[in-house]
Amino acid sequence: MTPKSIVPTAIIPRAIVSKVIIPTAIVPKNRAPRINSKGQIEIAFNWIYILIAGAVILLFFVGIVVKQKTVSEQNLATEVVRLLDSIFIAASSADQSKIFLDTQGLKDYTLYFNCEGGVSEYGIKGQGLPLQNEIDPVFAPLEFNTRGLILWSLPYKFPYKVIDFLFLSPQGMKYLLLGSGVSNSLDDFKHNFISAAEDLNPNLRLEVVELNSVSDLNDLAVNSNELLRIVDFDGDIIIENSPIPSQFLNSEVSVVQFKTDGQNKAVYYYKKGKNGNWERLKNFDPVKPVPIVSLDEEDTAKYAAIFSGNDETYWCNMQKALVRLGLVNKVYSLKTEQIINYYEQDNLLEPAKIVNQCRFLLNAQGDQEVNVPSNNINSNNFNQNNFLPGNLNKDLGSIAGSISGCTELKQCADLIMAARRLNSADQLLPDYSCKNLFSS
């Protein structure tokens, strides 16, 4: 029988070697301590080996957890932005509505809104993927942290509805309305804005402060880091490179200024300059101001200017509206042809007199002096309302032709004039029992 002690150690697993009890009687006395010492070293080595292997495995799982946490945070941020987008779609689809969105959970994150080259981008700064949108005009400050957001939707009409604008106002943002607006023909607009900002629900109420002069502005108490937007209705109260009142230096303040020169309407934006002066933003153009493409009755484009972060984002979102204007205009051009064709048919149900009248109103060549064929039609009415028979198609054509050129005040003024003429013409048609395009 082979004694245990003479089994070659090379074929015994290392883990077992340390556990083998070797009878001391058959082992030379001088060798016993050496074997014990080797065993002890091996036990220590095994523990180190186990510790290292355990640490590596632990690190591997900790790494997975950390990576997963980062990915989850990024996914959550992306998901939140997608959710915001769905809320924005629903909000802008609800005509003329204000909605409060509780963003308490996002108060530690910075939301940002940008628009360049006709594409909006918004998301949570440094988190997740931003969302890009080429269609919907969203007017909002560039960056903000907030516990709540007011979403305000208004239709942009030119003169027919073109698109819905969505304005975002962070809860707690103050609008300081400066000047009377009388010198700039914006008096009504200012008062309309003040009443529109009011709401029975305090969550939906915009904080508006009326100031009549620069001295009121200088005396105003302001908290540090407060989000402020000064609106200069007179167009000459805020002057480029003039000093900013000292209490505003620690706040997030910016200025939007409306200027009117005859038919030309424009908007300027200012921010805090490095030297403590008002610095005019020139992202849209170094020289030219940003045109306001708005009919007087419909001030949506002016409202949009108040809520926009800067000149570039304002014009970028307005570009989206102008692109859509071209497409909606095509639909109305087709509908005009349809109405004209309808009155060209024989045996219509309407009385012959009305049919003739409508044929004339819709089909006459607009630029010519016209002989009014019916006693029912009062020619003064045409002049008073800037209406020339047969001009519907021409005005729709003028709108289509002026859209691409509307980057300068003059061309935008032509576009506005064409839209006004179209509006007057369309409103008059029902007075003569004729079908109209969009008014009723």
Binding site: A15, S93, Q96, R324, L327, V328, V331, L334
Partner: protein
């Protein structure tokens, strides 16, 4: 050595089991997420169609009639293929991969309806239809209101 190998073997079996379990869970949850996204997309597109200025029943300066489509505009858009003409530069960003059809049910209209936008996803596997009831305003020869529904099919 055998014990170590056995321990490692069981450890790796557990790891592989964990990975397989997680992969299956992840696959199922992302499939559910995709389905949810598709439904949400269908609802978003339907919402957009209902307030589309190209289709809505305008009333001048007043608010447009709710859930009402102008039949004259609808017919013209289908006939001239307006949305298809401007698909790439504009309407794809609005409606993505979808088909939008309007059907008239009272009085009974064309069973094929008016397909105003049609751009199915090439190789798309899923389709989510959404329906919404609308009134249809016809201005010719005299103003009348018909009834129908919009069918928005979204592909993924």
């Amino acid at each position: 050595m055998t014990e170590t190998i056995a321990v490692l073997f069981i450890f790796f079996i557990l790891v592989v089991f964990g990975i397989v379990f997680y992969a299956r869970y992840h696959k199922i949850s992302s499939q559910e997420k995709q389905d949810q996204d598709l439904v949400q997309k269908a609802i978003d597109i339907t919402t957009k169609v209902l307030v589309l200025p190209e289709l809505e029943c305008s009333q001048g300066q007043s608010e447009a009639q709710k859930y009402c489509l102008d039949l004259t505009k609808l017919r013209l858009i289908e006939e001239k293929g307006l949305f298809q003409q401007h698909l790439e530069e504009y309407y794809f960003n609005l409606f993505s991969y979808s088909t939008i059809t309007v059907y008239q049910t009272y009085p009974l209209g064309d069973p094929d309806g008016w397909t105003i936008y049609n751009f199915p996803k090439p190789g798309g596997k899923n389709k989510e239809p959404t329906f919404f009831i609308v009134s249809l305003r016809d201005d010719f020869p005299k103003r009348s209101y018909n009834y129908g529904y919009i069918k928005v099919e979204v592909y993924s």
